[in-house]
């Protein structure tokens, strides 16, 4: 077996294990840490696909910036251990069937589509190729997204400032 294949399965197991652990853990900090494990494992998968830039940005932005804020807020609020409650009626009668339906659909589409989809081996995507794509071909959506983020920041500031 190739080293890449072994690494793929190790990282995939890490991601799935982290995701399951995120739900099972009762303490918010433990859940947040599990989410970080998922992010890092995903970054590893990107690396295996030859996309170094996306892998690094995944770690810097998600694991390094967003999750730090999560952990910071959890620590600041000193959130305690969650209490276990019974399954709510909403989840029992609507959530479980919908989740099962989605799972079936996922399995079905993977089984059907795996033969039809060609596997693209494009090699390593360089950072400058990505930048050219982003700032030449898709510059309008890119700028639009940054304006959206700016609006979100201003909105958050306005909400936070309202209280005297």
């Amino acid at each position: 077996m190739h080293v890449e294949t072994v690494l793929f399965f190790v990282l995939a197991l890490m991601a799935i294990g982290g995701a399951v652990n995120l739900i099972v853990q009762r303490h918010p900090i433990h859940s947040a840490l599990s989410l970080i494990v998922v992010m890092v494992a995903l970054a590893g998968e990107y690396l295996l696909l030859g996309s170094e830039f996306i892998a690094a940005v995944q770690i810097i932005v998600y694991a390094g910036a967003i999750m730090v804020l999560f952990v910071f807020v959890i620590m600041l609020l000193n959130a305690g251990v969650e209490e276990r409650t019974h399954v709510s009626r909403m989840a029992q009668y609507v959530g479980v069937p919908v989740a099962a339906l989605l799972l079936i659909e996922l399995v079905w589409s993977i089984r059907r589509g795996s033969a039809a989809l060609p596997i693209q081996v494009s090699g390593t995507v360089s950072t400058s190729q990505l930048a050219t794509l982003l700032f030449r071909g898709y510059v309008f959506p890119f700028e639009l997204t940054s304006v959206l983020i700016l609006v979100a920041i201003i909105g958050a500031l306005a909400l936070a400032k309202r209280e005297p």
Binding site: V3, H27, I29, H30, L33, I36, V40, E52, F53, A56, V57, I59, I60, A63, G64, A65, V68, L69, V71, F72, M75, L76, T124, S126, T127
Partner: protein, 407 residues
């Protein structure tokens, strides 16, 4: 196992490089503590460590043994797993960042394989290093939280806020360098700085055209000191107010791991400063006919230092010193003679100039620590957001304009 190595010789070569680098790094970090204590002591008109070996030279060994034999206490009510995880995270991330640093331009041969003087030559080295350092926040934050102590928690919270604030400045301050070099790879960044203006002034990014990165360097070094939690920005461990901050509850080797991690980050930052702004392994002297004597500077420096240590050691007051110091002096002088040989002289240039720059930056680190008082928390935040961040942003805009206007 042998089959795997036979199929992937690079794996074995990398393993050898990692082991050697780790050994050298750990020794260097141990002596960095000695270096810091000595320099700070002399700044404050004291002697510093003096008892264990001549001039306290064996103090790092004594410290290491002491850390190993201390009782390892876990406070009641601590989150055991995270309490254990935090120091491991800090140390492993800090040390693995060194793997990305190139130490010299020439290749070495291990087991018949040509390989660069660097563990991992990543095409996006700089981004990778920032990714490692951005996860490094968790070590400090989680240590503070898991200790179940108010001082630790306050230290952890402070460090998180501080690192988030200064990470912006840190990343923005190097954008100018990236714009000028046009690459994220460390080797290419260094090579982009080669050459000399008017025949003698090196084209290092600090003083290069189109825009000297002085502003970028000031922002970078300030933010880096804050990122590594060093004075005057060491609020996460401010011993006057928080006991010892995030590592108050840590003892024995877990404390040592935080300690080593902090020093490893200092080394990484010094390497980065040398690579990004001071030309990395490039010699400050041009390679021309009338400059060829500069090739002998490493050898001459080592020989003079070795003879000096030898002469001083013979007259040292203790018998142990009389035995140890001349041996050290002879070894250093011997290295110097080796460096002057035709087969080694080209090879040692890169590592010598690189490590010299790194040691200079480490000295500046200690110098700043010995000179400046600690910031207040609100001053720290005001400096980060209202001064450093706009300055770094201005540097990006100005450099972009200068690069765009370059013919």
């Amino acid at each position: 196992m042998n089959a795997i190595f036979a199929a992937h010789p690079l794996l074995l070569v990398s393993l050898v490089k990692i082991v050697v680098l780790l050994f050298l790094l750990m020794t260097a970090l141990a002596y960095l503590t000695w270096f810091e204590r000595k320099v700070v002591a002399h700044i404050q008109a004291r002697w510093g460590p003096y008892r264990v070996g001549p001039h306290g030279l064996l103090q790092p060994l004594a410290d290491g043994v002491k850390f190993l034999f201390k009782e390892d206490v876990t406070p009641a009510g601590a989150d055991k797993f995270i309490f254990l995880l935090a120091p491991f995270l800090t140390l492993s991330l800090a040390v693995s960042a060194i793997a990305l640093i190139p130490f010299g331009p020439m290749d070495i041969t291990i087991f018949g394989q040509q390989t660069p003087l660097q563990v991992a030559n990543v095409s996006i080295g700089l981004l990778f290093l920032f990714a490692l350092s951005s996860i490094g926040v968790y070590g400090v934050a989680l240590a503070g939280w898991a200790s179940n102590s108010k001082y630790s928690l306050l230290g952890g919270l402070r460090s998180t806020a501080q690192m988030i604030s200064y990470e912006l400045t840190l990343t923005l301050s190097v954008v100018g360098v990236l714009l000028m070099a046009g690459t994220l790879n460390f080797r290419e960044i260094i090579l982009a700085q080669s050459g000399f203006a008017w025949g003698f002034l090196p084209k290092w990014n600090l003083i290069a055209s189109p825009l000297p990165q002085v502003l970028g360097f000031v922002c970078f070094f300030t933010a880096a000191i804050a990122e590594t939690n060093r004075l005057p920005f060491d609020l996460p461990e401010a011993e006057g107010e928080l006991g010892a901050g995030f590592h108050t509850e840590y003892s024995s080797f877990k404390f040592a791991m935080f300690f080593i991690g902090e020093y490893a980050s200092m080394v990484t930052v010094s390497c980065l400063a040398a690579i990004l702004f001071f030309g990395g392994w490039l010699s400050p002297f041009p390679v021309a006919h009338n400059w060829s004597w500069t090739l002998y500077i490493p050898a001459a420096g080592f020989i003079i230092a070795g003879i000096g240590i030898l002469g001083y050691g013979v007259r040292y007051s203790t018998i142990f010193g009389k035995l140890l110091l001349p041996v050290v002096g002879l070894a250093v002088a011997g290295l110097g003679i080796l460096f002057a040989q035709p087969m080694a002289i080209e090879f040692v240039q890169g590592p010598f100039w690189f490590l010299l720059k790194v040691v200079l930056f480490l000295f500046v680190y200690v110098w700043v620590r010995g000179t400046l008082p600690r910031f207040r928390y609100d001053q720290l935040m005001a400096l980060g957001w209202k001064v450093m961040f706009p300055l770094a942003l201005a540097n990006v805009v100005l450099t972009s304009l200068a690069v765009a206007a370059r013919p």
